[in-house]
C-alpha cells in the first residue's frame, strides 16, 4: 500500500515535470498555465494593493476528497488577507487552526468565500488546511460527492484510531488519484498578503 502511495506521488511529479511547470487549466482546451498565473489572477481578483505578499507559495494539486496542509506564522499587529482559488474557477475551502488544533477560522462557514481578512493581535503559528468543496470536486470530475461527504461525517479521532479502515480509505484514495491524475487534478492556491495595523 505504502509503495503504491509513493508511486502515485512520483507519477504526479513526472506529470508536473513533463508539463514544464504548466499544469493548471485555462479556458482554452489543451492550453495549460503555471501556478504563478493562477496566483496572479487570484490576487488581482480578490486582493488589494495595500496588502503585501508574504512571498510564500501555497500550492497543491487536489482531486476528490484530497486535502493539503501548509504552515504559516501570523504576526501580531498585522491584518492578513487570505485568498483561495482553483484553476477551474470553483471555490476552495480553507481552515486556519492554531498550533494546538483549535480552529481560528474556516471559510466553509461562509459559503467558501474566495477571500477573508484576519486580524491577528498576537503572533500564532498556524496550520492552514485546504480541500475541495463538493461543487469543486464535482466540477473537476473528481471523486464522487458521496465519498467526500462520507469523509466529512467521520470524526477525525475515529479515523485515526481505525487503522484498518484508514488503509482501505487510503487505498481507495490512491486508486482515485491514479485514475484522475492527468485529467481532473485541480490546481489549488492560497495567496496571503499582509498589512500593518494602525
Amino acid at each position: 500500500m505504502k509503495i503504491k502511495t509513493v508511486a502515485v506521488i512520483i507519477a504526479g511529479g513526472l506529470l508536473i515535470y513533463n508539463t514544464g511547470y504548466s499544469q493548471c487549466k485555462t479556458n482554452v482546451e489543451n492550453i495549460r498555465r503555471p501556478f504563478y498565473d493562477l496566483e496572479l489572477e487570484c490576487a488581482k481578483t480578490n486582493s488589494e494593493p495595500s496588502f503585501i505578499s508574504d512571498a510564500k507559495d501555497y500550492r497543491a494539486l487536489l482531486s476528490g476528497n484530497e486535502g493539503a496542509e501548509f504552515i504559516a506564522t501570523f504576526f501580531s499587529g498585522n491584518k492578513y488577507r487570505i485568498c483561495a482559488c482553483t484553476d477551474i474557477g470553483s471555490p476552495l475551502s480553507f481552515t486556519i487552526s492554531d498550533h494546538k488544533g483549535n480552529v481560528l477560522f474556516t471559510n466553509k462557514d461562509y459559503e467558501n468565500a474566495p477571500y477573508w481578512d484576519l486580524d491577528f493581535p498576537v503572533t500564532i503559528d498556524c496550520k492552514i488546511s485546504v480541500s475541495l468543496p463538493r461543487e469543486t470536486a464535482e466540477a473537476s470530475g473528481g471523486a464522487p460527492a458521496a465519498e467526500e461527504s462520507a469523509e466529512e461525517e467521520t470524526p477525525a479521532t475515529e479515523t485515526a484510531e481505525d487503522e484498518a479502515g484508514e488503509e482501505v480509505a487510503e487505498e481507495a484514495a490512491s486508486e482515485i488519484s491514479t485514475k484522475f491524475v492527468e485529467n481532473t487534478k485541480v490546481c489549488a492556491v492560497l495567496v496571503i498578503g499582509y498589512k500593518q495595523g494602525k
Binding site: 505504502k2 502511495t5 503585501i52 512571498a55 486535502g67 496542509e69 506564522t73 481578512d117 498576537v122
Partner: protein, 303 residues
Amino acid sequence: MNNKRNLLLYIPALLFLTSTFLVGCGGAEQELEDIPQDEKIIDEETSLFNVDDKIFYIPSPVQTSLLMKKIAAPYSNHLLNDVARVESYTTSFKQAVNIGVYGADLGYITANNKNQEAISHLSAVKKLSDELGVSSAFNFSELEKFGGNAGNEQEMLTIITHAYKSCEEFLRDDERHDVAGLIMAGALIESLYFAVNFVDTPDNQDVINRIGEQTTTLDNIILILNRHYSKTDNIELSEFVDLLVKLQSEFKHIKIHYTFAKSTVDEGNKLCTINSKSVINIKPAMIKNIANQIKEIRDSITS
C-alpha cells in the same frame, strides 16, 4: 548497477519536483509520511523548508523588517549597515548573509519612506548578488523601477519582496540551501538588531514581544544551516551557527503562554478577529543578554 544508480539519482529530482508542486513552500502532503525511510532521507535534502520531517515557515526579509518598523521608531539611519562596507565582503558567507542584512535594511528604509537611501542599499545588494552569482534571480531590471516608484511605498515593498522571493526560489531550485539560509539569517539578525536598539526605551513591552516572537524563526534557520555545519569545510558558516545556537539558548528562557479563544467574525466586512491571547515573559536580565548577543552577532557578520 548503472540503472540502479541512475534511479537513485532520479528519485531526488522526482521527489523535489513533487515536494515543490504538491507541497509548495511550507506545504505538506500527508502521504509523504508513508515514504520508506531510505527514500525519505533523499527527500529531506531536496527542499529547503522540509528538514527532518519538519516543515518551516520563515518570513521574508521585508516582512521581518516591517515587523520592527513600529518599535524601531523614530527612524535611525545609523542602525543600517553602512553600504561602504560592501567592498570588504569577499567570502560567499559574508556576501550571502549581508544580502539578507541589506534586505532587512531595504525594508526598514522603504517602510519609513526614505526612498533615496534605498537606492544605495539596492546597489550594495546588486554588487553582492553579482559576486555570489545570484543576480539573475534578483531580476534587477524590476528593481530598477525603484527610481520611478520613489514615493510609492507599497509598490517598492512589493518589488523588494518579489526580488527576494525570486532569489530564494532560484537558490532552492539550485539546492543552495546554505546560501538561502544565510540570507534569511542575515535578515533576521538585522531585524532583531533594529529591535534591541530600542529595548531600553520606557514601556518596552512591544519591543520585547517582537523579539520573543522570533523564536520559531531562529529555530528554523538554525535547523536549515545545521545541515551545512562543518568546522573543516564550512568554517565561517559553522562559527556563525555556533553564535546562533548560543543565542537560541537565551531564547529558550522566553516563556510564551498561549490561550485559545473563539474568534469574532464580522461577516459583512469579511473580517475575522483573532481573540486568542499570547503572553511573552522575559526577565529583564535575559533581554539584556539577548540584546548583547544579537549585537555581537550583527557585528561579526557586518564587520
